[in-house]
């Protein structure tokens, strides 16, 4: 069967199917309500909620920075954790800007890439949280001060403190290697892919594969 035959066959098939398909114009009179069915509504809600959570965290940490006067280590810890919160807010706010700029009438591959990148954002949050792992001491000092009023740095065993600091430094290269591997469409090791899936979810995993598939489609 030749190409022109396929085209003719296709067009007559579509014309037959169109005969009894009617367009419901009632939706034109209900656009206000229907517009709420924006396919990106869930993404908007998630990013707004995320931005608010980061903002609240930052506000709380800022209060603690002021409250922890005279306790250097907890105060510095709160500053360190605030930096992560600032990065979190920037990321979420950036996603809101991208969402606002997304136009469905753009070239298909570019629009779909934009959508998948928005969905991949959960991975970025995961990577951000993981990057705070070497700074676990900041969490320890901060929460001990906040919950128990104990400045662990001032009152802790110096040898224990030294050991924790050595461990923190040792964790740095491994953590950043892991973050980089987790960002790859196909991580080198299966356990990293498994970890990514369990932490960030199957939806994000599909988004990562989706971006790769779009890049492959665009390549010749």
């Amino acid at each position: 069967m030749e190409t022109n035959d396929w085209k003719a066959l296709w067009k007559s098939h579509q014309a037959q199917l169109d005969q009894n398909t009617r367009l419901n114009l009632m939706i034109t009179r209900q656009m206000q309500q229907q517009a709420a069915r924006c396919p990106l509504r869930a993404l908007w809600a998630a990013r707004i909620a995320e931005t608010l959570v980061w903002a609240l965290l930052l506000a709380g940490l800022s209060t603690c920075i002021a409250t922890f006067q005279g306790h250097t280590a907890p105060q510095i810890s709160a500053v360190v954790l605030s930096l992560f919160a600032v990065v979190g807010i920037s990321g979420s706010a950036g996603q809101l800007i991208l969402l606002g700029m997304l136009q469905f009438d753009g070239p298909v591959v570019e629009v779909q890439k934009g959508l998948e990148r928005l969905r991949k954002h959960r991975l970025a949050i995961t990577q951000l949280l993981m990057s705070s792992v070497p700074f676990y001491l900041a969490h320890v000092f901060f929460w001990f001060q906040l919950l128990f009023g104990i400045d662990l740095f001032a009152s802790g065993d110096p040898q224990w403190l030294l050991a924790q600091m050595v461990l923190s430094v040792a964790l740095l290269p491994f953590t950043f290697w892991l973050i980089r591997e987790m960002g790859k469409p196909t991580p080198r090791y299966a356990w990293i892919a498994g970890l990514r899936r369990s932490v960030a979810g199957e939806r994000m995993e599909q988004a990562v594969r989706g971006v790769k598939a779009l890049k492959d489609f665009k390549a010749q």
Binding site: W6, H13, A35
Partner: protein, 170 residues
């Protein structure tokens, strides 16, 4: 709905009436049930309404509408696939209810296209609708030569598939 374009927006109802065939074609290709089809038609229509203010006559209206319809459909398909299990390629229910059943070959062609991955499906649809390679490339955001290469490969696959089906029925 703010008009961000310097050109007057086309009338929404007129656009839908005159170009409903485009919406139906795309929605039919990306859904497997009547309920999903109607849902998707509505989603596409809403997005067209929301985007009308951005329309510029530098593109033909049909080209612009295809972009929106394909983007909404492919995005919805990806979201649906995240919730559903993988379905067999030829599980699609034909959209019936019209006088006279489509012929076996035309239904087979439709199912074959419907079984393609989302982007290849869009490519094949636009090719069968007789759009030139350059315009297909612009709609999809890939080069004209890439369109030609991909269509050539898909045509080979289709020929093979039709031949297999023909000999299988003998």
């Amino acid at each position: 709905m703010p008009n961000t374009s310097t050109y007057p927006s086309p009338d929404f109802e007129t656009v839908l009436q005159q170009h409903r065939g485009i919406i139906f074609k795309v929605a039919r290709l990306y859904t497997r049930s009547e309920a999903d089809f109607e849902d998707l038609v509505q989603d596409i229509s809403i997005q067209i309404w929301q985007s009308l203010g951005n329309y510029k006559p530098t593109y033909a209206l049909s080209t612009w509408l295809y972009r929106i319809a394909l983007n909404v459909s492919i995005d919805r398909l990806r979201r649906e696939e995240r919730r559903q299990r993988h379905q067999e390629a030829f599980e699609a229910l034909p959209h019936t209810g019209q006088p006279g059943q489509p012929s076996g070959r035309s239904e087979q062609l439709h199912r074959w296209v419907q079984a393609l991955p989302p982007l290849e499906r869009a490519l094949m649809l636009l090719y069968l609708e007789d759009y030139p390679h350059g315009e297909i490339g612009e709609m999809l955001g890939i080069s004209k030569s890439n369109v030609g290469t991909k269509i050539s490969r898909l045509k080979q696959r289709l020929k093979k598939e039709l031949k297999l089906h023909h000999y299988g029925n003998e």
